[in-house]
Every structure is written in C-alpha cells, then in structure tokens.
Symmetry: D2
Subunit: 340 residues, 4 copies
C-alpha cells in the first residue's frame, strides 16, 4: 500500500468473482484512491471476466497475498474459505473486508479475531444492513433520543424463496445463514446484549429442507441483560418478494424501517389501490448499502478510523446463531454464555 | 315547537322519503329532544314506510306546514320543490334544513334568502362536506395557522358513474348539480371570494350526456380577490369509485384531505401491495358528515346559535356554478358579478 | 322472551353500568326487536343514570334474573362476577352475552361452560375484535384462499398506558387481562391450536407493576400442532397510543390489518409528512366492532344460529393465558395440555 | 467519432461546467464506449476542475467544435447559448444533447430544429422527467392499456423556493423556465396535442418577482384536440420541499406518480405518524433520471435509434409556454396555433 494521504492509491485484491464479488468490485473501483489490482477465483473464467471489466489482473491466492503492494483484501468467496483468507491477510498485514459469516464455527471465528488483533489490521465484516439509508437513519434517530429508551424490537426478515437444498446443506443452517444479519441488527439497534434466547421454527415450504436437517421459518425471542425484548420472524419464502422491516418501540415513541419500492406508482382499479412490491432481493434492496459499506471500509483504512462492523460483531452474531440453533434443537430457551 | 330548554321536544316534518330523506330521518330520530312527526312525499308508499320506521305519521304539505307544533322542516324532496318549501316554512316561522341547491336559478334562490331573513328563522343548506371529520379537521388546522396563509387549493371530485341521462336533463347541468359542493368547499377552505373563474370540460363517458347539452368532466380554475388560486377537477365516472380529496398549499406547509377506506387491510401478492378502494359513494363516504350536520342544525336551532352553512352560502355556491356554466359555454373566463 | 319471529321483542337485562356496559346498552337499544328492560349495578346511581337514558328500570340481580320475561342477559360487570352470573342466567334459561374473560380460573370457566351447555342457552363471549371491520375482512379473505395456507402470524398489541396498579393486582396478570384477546385472535386467524407456547416479558414502564408481581411488556411465541408459528408482542405503554395490528404470512401472499385513524388528513411541513396517530383506545378503535357483536348476538339468539365467539373460545383463550403465565414464571416453553 | 460498433469510443465535449454540467459529465463518463474529451466553460476554473475530475481537457468553443474526433456535444451552458451551440454542432455534424429549453424564442428554436434536421444529426432535449423510473413506469402502464383511455391529467409541480430575482429576470418567465417540463409531461402522458390553453397566476411569495414582471404560482388548464383535460398547478415555493406528482384518470382506472423519499423511516410520536419529506430538489429527485437519459442518448447515437425527447418536443413545449404566457397576460384562453 502506498500512502493515500500523499495522493497514492490502495491496491486491492478481491477473492471471489461471484454475485457479491462483482458488486464489491464495482463499488471499490469507484472509490477515489482505490485500485482493483487482482481478482482471485477458482473459476478462472469468472475471475478473468471480472478482472477485465475493471482493468485488473487474475491472480491465485498466493500471488495476491504475496504481493506487498496489496494494501487490502476483499473476501467474497465461499464461507468455508473466509477464516483461512482472513488469517492469511492478517499474516501479510493486509486490511480485510470479509463477507459474513466469519466462519460457521465459533472456534475458528475466534481464532480469526485473535489473528486480526495481533496483526493490528482493520477487519470489517460485511453486515451491509447497517449501511442501508433507511436503517442507518433510524439508528441515528434512536441515538438522538427521539424515542427515549428503545425497549422492544420486532424484526421481519423474509426471502422471496428458499435457496437450493444443496446450498442449504452446507449453509450452517438457517440461523447462521439467514438470521446472522438479524442478530446483528438486534445488537446494533438495541445496543444491548442477549441474556436469554428462545428459538423455534418449522419447515413449511419444502420437505427436502427438513430432510436436510433444517427449517425454513423461524420465530426467535431474545431478552437482553437489561430486560429489553426482541422478536425476530423469518421465512425463506415470501410469495411477494423480499421483506426487510423492523420496528423499535421506545419509552416515548416508535420508529419503523420499511421496505423500499422500485417506483412510486399507485394504481386505482375497480377493486383495489395498489403499489409496487418491495425491491426484489438483497442485491436490489441493499444496492446503496453495499456502496456505502465499501466506502466506509476504505475511509476507515485510509483515515485510521474504526469500522462500524468489526470482527467482534461477527463473533457476537455467530454466538447468537449458535444459541438459536441449540434452542431450536433442544426445545428450550438458552442462556447466552452457558457452556454448550 | 315547544320549549326544548325546558325539556320539551322539537317536532319535525321531513319532506322527501327518498335516499337522502331516509338518512336525515334516521339521524334526526337519534337527536335527543327531536321527534320526527310527519313524513311528506308524493310517493305515499315511500312516505308510509319511512314514517312507520320511526313512529311518525304521513302528511301532505299543507297538513305538515299548517301544524303549529312543527318547529322545523327538513327538505329532501326534488330540487324544483326546494324554493317553495323554504318559503312556505319561512312563512310559517319554521326553521329549515334544506338539501342543496336552494334552487337552480339565482333569482328564486335570492327570493328564498330574503324570505328566510324576513321570517327570522334558521335556514341551513346541506353542504354536508363541511361536517366530514377529515375535512373539518383540516379546516380547523388551517384556522389554527398550521400552514400559514392558504394560497392554493386543488380539489378532486369524482363520482363512480354518471346518473341516468333523464336525471341529467333536469339537473341544471354538472356545475349546479355536482360542482356546487366543490364551490362551497372552495369558499370555505380559502375563506375568500372568487374574482374570476374559468371553466372548461368535455363529454367523455357517454355521448347521450352531450346530446342532453351537458358534459361529464370539468376543469375549473378560480382566482380570488386576494390572488389565491383554486383548481377543481371533476369527472362523472371514476372506474375505481368515489374520489373526494383536496389539498391546500399554504405559505408554510401543505394539508391534504384523503379518501376514507372501508377497512385497513393491506394485501401483498406476487405483483402488488394493495388496499381497499375508497368508500363506494356519498352515502358511505359522508355517513358521519350527515349525522354531524343534522346534529349541528338542531343544536343551532335549540341554542340560538348560527349555522355553519347558511342560505347565503347556498347563494354564493350557486353564483359560482352559474359563472362556471357561462364560462364553459362562452369559452372565456368570467368575472364574478359581471352582468350575465 | 316473547316470539320475535312473530314480531315480538326480547327483553334484556344488562349487568354492569360502567364504561363497557353503557356501550353495549346503547348498541342493543338500537337493535330492532330488542328492548333494554333492566340495568343492574351495585352502584345504584350508575344503574339509574343508564336506565334513564334508555327508558329502562333499575333492578337487583334476583329481580332481573327472576323475571321470566327477560330473554337474554348482557354481563359487563367486574370479572369476578362473570362466572356466577353466567351460571345464574343458564339456570334461568336466559341467553348470555358476557364480556371476556369467563373467569380468571380455568376450573370455574369450565363449570360455566358445562352449565351453559346443559341449559342449552346461547353464550357468547365478548371477543369484539373478531367483529372489527378490518379484522373480519382480513379473515374472510384468508378463508377465501387469497394467501393460500396461513403459516405465520405476527400480532402487535399495545395499550396507550398501563392501568392503575390497584387494577393490575386483581387483573389476573397481563396474560389473562390483556393478551386474552390476542390469544383469541391467534386461534381465529390461524384456525389451529397451540402445541407449545413460550412467553417472556419485562417490567419496563413502572416498577410498581413488578412489585405487584406482574410485567408490562411481553413476547410470546406459539407453535401450532401443524407447525405454524405465531409471535405476539404486547406493551402496556405505547407513547403514541393504542396499537392493534396483525399480519399473516401465507404460502401465496400476505395480509396486514392496520390501525384506524380518526381522520385522513396528511400534513406536509418543512421536516416531515404526517398523519393522525391511531384511534385513542379500545372504545374508539372498536366502536364498530362493539355494535356488530351485539347485533350478531341478537341475530343468533332470534334466528337460532351459532355465535362466532363461544364460551369454548373463552376457555381456549384462558388456557393459553394460563400456559403463558406458567411459561413466563418458569422460564421454559409449555406444552398445551401438560398437567399444570 | 470512431466506430463504436467496432469497439471504438465516442469522444464528447461538454459545454457548461455548472451544476447540471457536472452531473451529465459524471454520467457520461460511466457509459461504456464514451469518453469525455473536452470541458468548455467561460469560467476557466470550473472547466479545469471538472475536466480534471474525469481526465479530460479544457477547450474553448472553437477548439472543441473544430476537433473532428468529437462525435457528440452535451450542452449545459446558459439558456441564451443553446441555440448557437446546437447550430454549431449541427454544422460540424456532431450529435447534440441539449438542456431545455432550446431557446426562449420560438423563432430561434425553429431555426435550430431545421439546422439539426438538415445536418441529420441526433438532437436530444433534456426533458429528464421522462426517464424518471416512476414516471416511465407509469407511462408504460398507460401504454399497456391498464387504465383504458387516459382522459384527465393533473400535474403538481412545486419548487422548494424561488430562485434569485436576478435569475428570474432572464428566465423567460415562469412558463418557459419552470412549466416547460410540465408541458412536456402533458404531451407525453396524454399523447395528444393542446387545442386551447388557459393560464392564470399570482405572485404570492415575493413582491420582487411581480416587480420583475413575473408570477410565482400558476394554474393552467389545457383541453386537447380530442377533448382530454389537463390541469397543472405550480408554485415556486413549497415550504415542505420539492413536489413532483401527477395523476392520470383513464376510462377504466387511475394511475398516480408520487414523490420519492430519502428513507422509508416512519415515526410514531404522541401526536402524529410521520415520514420523510420528498427528496430535496431536482438534483436528488431526478438522480436516476439524469443517468438514464444520458445512457439513452448515447445508446441512440451508437445504435442509430430515435431519441425519446427530440428537438420537436422542445419546440412543442415552448409553444405551450408561449401560449400560457399570452393567456396569463391577456386574461383569456388561447387557441394553439392562433397567430400571436
């Protein structure tokens, strides 16, 4: 990494040229002072195509990690590679932006966190929802005291459809794969930690998901150390699309974060008044959030500021996902921190 | 009329047992201290049926007008009978509630106004919209200064469908029959009088309306003496039902009065998010307004207070309807008060 | 009771002349073929005042129950009197409309249910929410198949403020006093029975409530026998008023029931676009529902049809409230039907 | 211009480095196959700064126009330079994107149109509203027949505040400066031409505007050749910000295009339920539209397709603005095409 303050640029390697890798690559290519140097992917064609789009080169892992000019890595590869790549980056003193989750096991995730801390590099986890304009504005209004003390949080988080069962089998289960974001929202919005957590759920959309040992609809309740309450409802299948809302009841008011619609057309017919369904899925819904989180990461790196979503946040969300999995399997509330 | 203050009741005669007559009869029957004594209608069956419903008697015009115990008349008969019945009531010193319009001609309407004034009786015209909870709340907020000086008013007024052409032929034309309400809203909301008025329109839904010499869609613009602007758009046919909205732009803010929906159900389907169309027509939309205006009338009568919608308001609305008719026919703006 | 089909009327005795008694009295007085004969209340002034308003007489319990002409009783007195009055009515072969809950203990509630069944009288419990136009329309749309199979229900139920602690002490606790309605909504909307229930909660608004052994905010999760999920969030204190919403995720769509607003005014200021807060409290919010449930009761009685909210429904809701209380106290999910 | 189809790029010169010039420069710089070569502005610093941002060069008019490699010009300079630059571009066989209006006089605008036609170059006028996602979706739904025949159009167009009086003096008046966009919307949405137009207005926000011979609030009514109706209401000052809405009543339904909000936060306080005011002004409101129109222009140029907003559209909008100005000044409806 050359000195950005002196007008020089950060060279970046992106790992993973899939859907989310392409989004991060495009967003970081727009940052002043940031240059995409390498794209790394086991799928060489995907890597070459993404590299060509941004004037970058294809590299393999060692090539990218071994290049001292690389100041930061952006890890968008499959979940099972996250921990290794974070540790490799840390060892090479490269700052890291890594998609969630850090890892599917708490143990490896903790090892990553320690590696990052020892290396003194920035490590930001991609909880992009914190950068959504609506969610971020709501959080700022809570922090400004608009609703007094936040006391109750209701999170609605539904996908337009379940992923392939093959994906689900290696996903770590719905709590780690899908609710990990909602657990992070819970910690961020209530600014509190869970004391007990109760999770239940069902498989309602596809028996194959149950056969794979997972569920597709969940109902989670968290009670925090200071007695605040949080309810999360999730479904893999919402026929009307992608539904991402939450509301916070405070001691003096209430704030809701609603969905975003593609257009503001309202239609009146003989039978109904209608508007658009929400943005189709996360790529559309969180377009602005993805751009903002990458900008935030490079701003933090170049200005030496803390990042909003740290590896510690990644660990905490994973602990909640672990607790939820246990609660669901054992049919009982789980106390956070109890020995597993 | 016996002394209400002393616990006695006002006996009332209702003229007209049609749709609106039945609504007023039911509402006045609920007023404490008010008794429906007579129902008068050329259709004897309709009169008998309505009378039976409320324990009243059928009478003819002279019978009802000649009964000294009748303290007030409620006139809901056809428009061409309004003027005569108002004058008859006034001559008998009975207070009058009369449906709009006072008459189709300004001349007869003025004669009525004079008769009422000479007799010293209360005469309220049924501009029920002023009693709609939404409209009345909006007006109160303007009066409280919430939007500074009101400067521009946009009125949307659409019916679910045109009445039969036979009705239209005797209606006095769309400006007297339909926009009379909107002209009253204009005067009430902007609290100002028209200086010039421009009206145009078209016949878009049914050629038979054009053949009857009328139009079914209008666009009216009024500029007031103090330079405020008002635009009214009306249509006899809105496929989605009855649409009654207005908005007021003030110097420091804006207020909108929206439609009322039968229920607050919102539905999400694969293609849209939808809610109910507005209340079907005026009987549903203004249910609360009809009840409130009758209560207001009897309160005014028994307590000697002024009514909110006087015969003078009826005259002013009629003057605007006359001006609009002339403007449309002659294709030019009309100055209010110019000799016709 | 005289024969209504033959044009005769049902004479009714109302027990309890408080807030809800006055509402039911006014609504039943408007039913054709129904006459309010007696008002019974330990507070003689309240009874006399309500009786006078509707031309009824004051009676004591035995007087009213002993009058063979009384065909139906409407029980709006304090909760601890419900069971006795239901049984007394049943013994006298009078139909019963009783406010919720049947009783605070399942045992006495079951005794009531048996008494009613033996007597063969109609016994309707006042779960008025099922008669709310919005809720009833939503239910009808589910039944018509609009969203496929309903799979997940989210209920938001918040009061504008906690009642006095003295009231809370004798209320049976928040689950029996407040959530009893939400438990009925759950059964009605999902048309399924609970298998397991988990409840937690906190006291957030007033420590005196905790000292009285109760909580003021709850988070309940129910999993039904067929695996459907329901989450209920309640709070005694919502700074913005009375909040009564629910949403149902189905296999092919989603339906939401929203709050009702006093007016449809929308205001635009420099900083925000705003509308009314919801109707202030249950008397305003459920005005139409109270009228509809009384009409439904007398229609059922006179036409020999079943009522929508039976004493069995009252029992089921009470069982859920009992289970929730136990789950909260013991910090574990409760299986419905497990021996307490 | 080199051959784009063969993978080569169009070199572009931007005239005007002000607010809108910077937006167009940034948007065109993102188009694949398009390169910003020159920035031209009398303000050399502004030109240099914008050129530097995109790796372009500063040039003067003759330098840019004389460079045969320049395939297209983007004209964002002051209104009085539009006509000359369009004609200069046409003479040099360069395609033209020009901000509205073509010119303040119909005569010069017509000369431009002829020059463009003779030269056979593309000339697109920057009516960006047609590219707004909400407006474009609404238009597509009309074209798909969703509301039958569109019969009535209501346009609301309000700015957050009046520009400086110095600007107003050289603006050509409110009808050419502000309503020119609304006139284009009218033609586009109703797909019809005006037969008569009536305009009135007032100066309500600042007497200096009246002293400059202009008004700040207008009410325009247009009747088309086929009898359709359009009402436009505009104000220079809406206290709540930038308000850009329209609605179209069709024979079988109605479509509304609403404002866009920065976030979807809804807040409940003791007194109101509130959401964000609309996007602050045109730069925010039409961000997506500006990007889409530039993409459309270069797509048309490279693929030889027609543009959506031609110089003929610019002329038509100007004719309507001229007619409105005359109608307002003379206090009478104007027939389009009547000799001025």
């Amino acid at each position: 990494m050359t000195d950005v303050a002196g007008g020089k640029t950060i060279d970046v390697a992106v790992f993973g040229a899939g859907r989310i890798g392409r989004i991060h690559a495009a967003n970081l290519a727009r940052q002043p002072g940031v240059r995409l140097k390498y794209v790394v992917d086991v799928n060489k064609d995907a890597a070459a195509s993404l590299a060509a789009l941004h004037g970058a080169q294809v590299a393999d892992i060692d090539g990218a990690m071994g290049d001292a000019s690389i100041g930061a890595t952006v890890i968008c590869s499959s979940t099972d590679t996250h921990a290794d790549l974070i540790q490799y980056s840390a060892a090479q003193k490269k700052h890291v932006f890594c998609e969630k989750p850090v890892d599917l096991t708490l143990e490896r995730a903790r090892t990553c966190a320690q590696a990052v801390e020892r290396a003194g590099v920035v490590c930001m986890i991609g909880f992009q929802r914190r950068f959504d304009p609506t969610f971020a504005a709501l959080k700022a209004r809570i922090d400004a005291g608009e609703i007094g003390t936040p006391e109750m949080l209701i999170v609605t988080s539904r996908d337009p459809g379940a992923p392939p069962v093959e994906y689900i089998k290696h996903s770590g289960g719905i709590f780690k794969d899908m609710l990990i974001h909602d657990f992070d929202i819970f910690r961020w919005i209530l600014d509190d930690e869970a004391e007990t957590l109760h999770a239940t759920g069902s498989c309602l959309s596809d028996p194959a998901i149950a056969e794979a040992g997972d569920i597709d609809a969940t109902a989670v309740t968290i009670r925090t150390k200071s007695g605040r309450l949080c309810q999360i409802n999730t479904a893999r299948r919402a026929a009307y699309g992608y539904d991402q809302r939450f509301e916070v009841l405070g001691s003096t008011g209430m704030l809701q974060a609603g969905n975003v619609r593609p257009t503001e057309v309202v239609a009146y017919s003989k039978t109904e008044v209608s508007s658009d369904v929400p943005e189709a899925f996360f790529l559309e819904r969180y377009r602005a959030a993805y751009a903002a989180e990458i900008a935030h990461f490079f701003e933090a790196v170049t200005q030496g500021k803390p990042v909003r979503t740290t590896v510690a946040d990644g660990l905490k969300a994973l602990e909640l996902a672990d607790a939820a999995t246990r609660s669901w399997r054992e049919g009982r509330p789980v106390r956070l921190g109890e020995s597993a």
